[in-house]
């Protein structure tokens, strides 16, 4: 790997925005370690996200190995978080959390899309890190994410190229505009 490889920043996205994300950004190629980016409806291009919310359900859905799926809800919807044998630390934390639901958690992970073959694309986050947090951190995250979303929206409106790219990608797009009052 190149010495000056740049870490993917963890985008702050609400569940509503992430859930509506169905578009992969084409890779540039030439770098085998290049991350898969996803284009959201506010024009964010993200591979890694950080979310904070309430973990409400954790199941072991693995057959041979443990494979955990966790539902984390924020005020706009639900995130699906997964962790399996290649995310051992996160899986371990999730397994321990089963006993203490509901609980505020912070999750940092990579976005992945699954197509279930029926024209429905499911978005999940493959956890890299999961940890218990308090209400204060949840609030800080909400504020930060609200700000980040608003910033993206205004940057998006000021950038016709990006706007076209998103419009082309999401032709049947509903008018995505989460209102702050709903979030708060």
């Amino acid at each position: 790997m190149a010495g000056n490889f740049e870490r993917m920043k963890a985008a702050r996205l609400f569940a509503a925005e992430l859930k509506a994300t169905t578009i992969e950004v084409p890779k540039k190629g030439g770098d085998q370690y290049e991350s898969q980016l996803y284009l959201t409806q506010t024009g964010a291009k993200a591979a890694r996200v950080m979310i904070v919310g309430t973990a409400t359900e954790i199941e072991d859905i693995g057959t041979d190995n443990n494979f955990y799926r966790m539902r984390v809800s924020d005020p706009t919807g639900v995130h699906f978080i997964t962790a399996g044998q290649y995310q051992q630390e996160a899986a371990k934390v999730m397994q321990e959390l089963i006993q203490s639901l509901p609980v505020f958690v912070a999750v940092i992970g990579k976005v992945s899309l699954y197509n279930n073959g029926e024209n429905t694309t499911l978005v999940s986050i493959r956890a890299e890190q999961v940890s218990i947090v308090d209400e204060n951190i949840r609030d800080t995250w909400l504020l930060e994410t609200a700000k980040a979303t608003l910033d993206r929206l205004s940057a998006f409106k000021a950038n016709p190229v990006l706007e076209q790219e998103v419009a082309a990608a999401y032709q049947k797009r509903e008018n995505y505009n989460p209102t702050l009052s709903k979030i708060y």
Binding site: V52, E89, V133, T140
Partner: protein
């Protein structure tokens, strides 16, 4: 042609500085043959002609280059060193010495003055004197070099390092970042360091000194991320203990119990990952060496109200 005359004039003046007078005509003639007939690039031609006259007049090359061009430069400040490949002279304190990473390197470390800091390297082949950490020196005729956007200083055989009598306070450029701690990297938690060079061991052996009996230490190599930028941060043992509540003794206990030093980092991760911090420290390369770290709490209610007001407007 203009170039030729300019160059020969420069060569002439250069030799004049060591009290050797050369006819400009002779220089131009040689240059012109090289450039016009043999199509040698002007820089190469200049070099060739210069060394020819050095040989003719029996001048020592090293002395010539040391004395002719740069000897009487007035000292500059480190913050002014922003141009690549520039000869300069300055006074500085040796802030840190690092373990050399190559057998040909004599010393490497950081020099600092009131305006900033800069990385330096001295080479064994230059017969340069050994510097002491914390002492002040005058660095004469050293060359700047730029690599990946960062400046450093190369000390070559024409450089001169003299003790400097004055007192120099090294500027500490503190950087503050706010964001969530999103990852603990390899080498966090309970580590062992080489007793000789203090470098961290990997699988019980030091990159320089081989298999050694390591000394236990704690540290956190983390990533602070605010969604737009990320910053690698390094916390020393004291800060790590304060932040996580896990002391070195406790860490050893945890590692012993699980037969795995990695457990310590995992336990630390559970306590700090996803938390927001305000971190202040000194930037060295891509890492921020942390001096203070405290939990960051936003004034959520107020700021949400401001955001709401702005959106509804």
């Amino acid at each position: 042609m203009e170039n030729l005359e300019q160059t020969s004039l420069e060569i002439k003046e250069r030799f004049a500085k060591v009290n050797v007078q050369i006819q400009e005509k002779d220089i131009t003639e040689r240059l012109s043959i090289l450039v016009n007939k043999f199509m040698v690039p002007i820089n190469e031609a200049r070099r060739n002609v210069t060394s020819h006259f050095l040989r003719v007049h029996n001048i020592n090359q090293d002395e010539f280059f040391a004395n002719a061009g740069f000897a009487n430069q007035s000292p500059v400040k480190i913050a002014e060193l922003i141009e690549d490949n520039k000869w300069c002279t300055f006074n500085a304190r040796v802030a840190v010495l690092w373990e050399p990473r190559h057998e040909k390197i004599l010393q490497t470390g950081v020099l600092g003055d009131e305006t900033g800091t800069i990385v330096f390297t001295t080479w064994k082949s230059t017969g340069c004197s050994v510097l002491e950490e914390g002492k002040c020196y005058t660095f004469k005729n050293v060359v700047t070099s730029e690599w990946q956007g960062r400046m450093s200083i190369k000390i070559n055989k024409n450089s001169e390092i003299l003790p400097y009598q004055g007192d120099i306070t090294v500027a500490k450029k503190l950087v503050t970042v706010v964001g969530a701690l999103v990852d603990l990297q390899q080498g966090s938690g309970l580590i062992k360091r080489c007793p000789e060079c203090n470098r961290s061991l990997s699988k019980g052996s030091c990159a320089e000194h081989g298999r050694v009996e390591g000394i236990h230490d704690l540290r956190i190599k983390g990533v602070i991320d605010d969604g737009i930028t990320s910053q690698d941060v390094i916390l020393n043992r004291k800060l790590t203990e304060e932040l996580t509540g896990i002391t070195l003794a406790k860490a050893k206990e945890i590692a012993m119990e699980s037969l795995d030093a990695g457990t310590v980092a995992d336990e630390m991760g559970c306590k700090v990952i996803g938390h927001y911090f305000e971190v202040t420290g000194v930037q060295i390369d891509k890492n921020l060496i942390v001096e203070t770290i405290k939990p960051f709490r936003a004034d959520v209610t107020n700021q949400i109200n401001t955001l709401l007001a702005a959106t509804e407007a």
